[in-house]
Subunit: 211 residues, 4 copies
Amino acid sequence: MGSDVSTGAGRKARGREERRQAIVDGAFAVFARQGYGQACVKEIAREAGVAKPTVYNHLADKESLYREAVEAAADRVGARCLAAVDRLREVEAAADPRAGLGTAARDLLRICQDEEARAVRRLADAETAQFPGLAASVRERTALRIRSALADRLARLALAGRLRPCEPETAAEHLLALLTGPLEYRPDADPDAVAEAAVEVFLRAYGVGRG
Amino acid sequence: MGSDVSTGAGRKARGREERRQAIVDGAFAVFARQGYGQACVKEIAREAGVAKPTVYNHLADKESLYREAVEAAADRVGARCLAAVDRLREVEAAADPRAGLGTAARDLLRICQDEEARAVRRLADAETAQFPGLAASVRERTALRIRSALADRLARLALAGRLRPCEPETAAEHLLALLTGPLEYRPDADPDAVAEAAVEVFLRAYGVGRG
Amino acid sequence: MGSDVSTGAGRKARGREERRQAIVDGAFAVFARQGYGQACVKEIAREAGVAKPTVYNHLADKESLYREAVEAAADRVGARCLAAVDRLREVEAAADPRAGLGTAARDLLRICQDEEARAVRRLADAETAQFPGLAASVRERTALRIRSALADRLARLALAGRLRPCEPETAAEHLLALLTGPLEYRPDADPDAVAEAAVEVFLRAYGVGRG
Amino acid sequence: MGSDVSTGAGRKARGREERRQAIVDGAFAVFARQGYGQACVKEIAREAGVAKPTVYNHLADKESLYREAVEAAADRVGARCLAAVDRLREVEAAADPRAGLGTAARDLLRICQDEEARAVRRLADAETAQFPGLAASVRERTALRIRSALADRLARLALAGRLRPCEPETAAEHLLALLTGPLEYRPDADPDAVAEAAVEVFLRAYGVGRG
DNA sequence: AATGAATGAGAGTTCATTCAT
DNA sequence: AATGAATGAACTCTCATTCAT
């Protein structure tokens, strides 16, 4: 019943949970733009459309704000990547995997290149000293989750004889490495070309005889 | 003989250039430990064994300090990596490249895993907003330099028929990706195992029939 | 009737505007005592009974503080002088102006000799370089305003035939000069004597035959 | 002999006294430009063409520098004014004093309007708190000296019957006030007009019947 | 629950001044 | 006597955080 119609008064003051969301999202936007050190709570409040003390009503302090914002964004990015990998499920086990892998690879790469994913990587590693567990937590929510999902798919392909027998986790790491590694050298490279080359090389190493 | 003139006395107040070096090095140590935002100039001065204003006598402000420190460290890391790659020159063109590549790969990986290299990566990306050109500058001094050197070696091997004909820059990216990519998932993985797997996969994709 | 709502409690945390007033007044007191350079914001805050950052909540920086403080004080001094001049209105046009002018002269001189007016003069001229428009602004609020008001009165007297025909602005300048000029040589001279001499000389130059 | 040809070596490193002069003059230039607070010793040194510690070899500290610079400049201004007044000596006692007074008045006014004299006034009053005796010292070297000299001349004129009998110090104050007072309202007024009006009014009040 | 205002703590930076050469 | 370099002491200003409303 009228669940998400919010307060009725107007556009802004929704339920408590939505308000909290707005703050965390605003925080991510500001942190992504300015980094932890340069970001100031006042601007986060402005971005979220609330007053500064309201921020403190929802989150304990600037550090919590950072952790929550980064982890939430990591979840979003991880979910998007997972969806891309999961589309591999639809590939017929009997079919040539090249096309399916290529599509997934392109989609993944596009996600890695968008600003949100870059910001998550940056923010997760940036403040290692002040946020000891954060990098690992983000890795858990993104890289490891993706690797795991991809390993599942590769294991099925290997079982179906479309890939050599291999250690699926390692194979997944290698495919992902071939895919995202080149971004180190050319962050804005054409994702299609990079993806195609990655899959090509991956299949040369992991594919079976024909192709 | 007898190195320079220097102070004669001993340990501290050497020439202006050495003093500057000490400051930049101290800055890197502190930034690596605490990040840009948490680091304070006072501590950098203490680390360098000088008074705070002396820092400002040598470098204009905290920002310059950061840039200089990070770029200098990037140069050091880049140089070490380059040396590892250059040891490939000694590999006989006629020999099986596996052993040589394996050695270089292990050495590179060890460098990437040490604290200095990790700090350089972290610091270069962390403050994108405040230091717009820094990430690119560091990439130039490390990744791109290494890729270029490795591409040179791979090109020779291809020319000697020990590798398939290939685009050397891309091949280098792929080898480096296979090497360092797994660190995303297991930052403290055993470098020997990772290196061996990387070279194995690389040679399956880029090697020639036998070996 | 009960003034505003205000705190009820009593002496300190009144409305925003009063707080601001307290800060500006405190600033003037400190600047008057120490000059711009020696004054420190910490002491201004203490003088105003607030914490240092509160000062910055109300005024952008030390420079604004100075400008506001000096201009506000100039307005106060100007108003007091104006009141003294305006008391001349009550002089009957037909009467001998000597007594009226004498009273006004004495009053003006006393104002010029008090610490607030001296401080305004000093502070307005002191930092010409850092506050380019300030001296002119203060002149506008004090000297020019006074001259203008006095010129009005002298013009009426001239029209009534109690003074020679003259250019009122110039006559006013001359009277004021005769009045305040001697302070250059004897800052603490007896104001009554100085005022009397000034009026005497002025009337000899500007008065009509008899008196 | 060869007294003031200086060191012979070249243009800069003159005798100790000249070096000191250069420093004090440089200090005045910088203080006049920036005020005491904003002026920094480094710039004074640069202006004088010496290194910073050399400044401290000649003058104890920044305060001495200020006092010396301001007093020296006050002496220069005072001397120039005195010369202008002293030219009144050449006026024949029997002649109409109007012309002579007018010339002296114009000359004095021009001096008061030039940048050096304005700076002296400004700097003498600006830092009352930090330099308690300075304002009085400068007054002594300028205003009082000038008043005294002018009073001498006026006394002679009175004695010669060209002016009414009067108290010469007061008369001098009045003439000087009529002269410089208008600068309060119009700092860049035409000196000739102001001087003429001042003398006119002065003579109306202090002159004898005819002229 | 939300805000305007206030504050304690601390950072970067500057400068007058002093060694050591 | 003159300088390059170093330093101790301050100062302005900012910010995360908390009252009082």
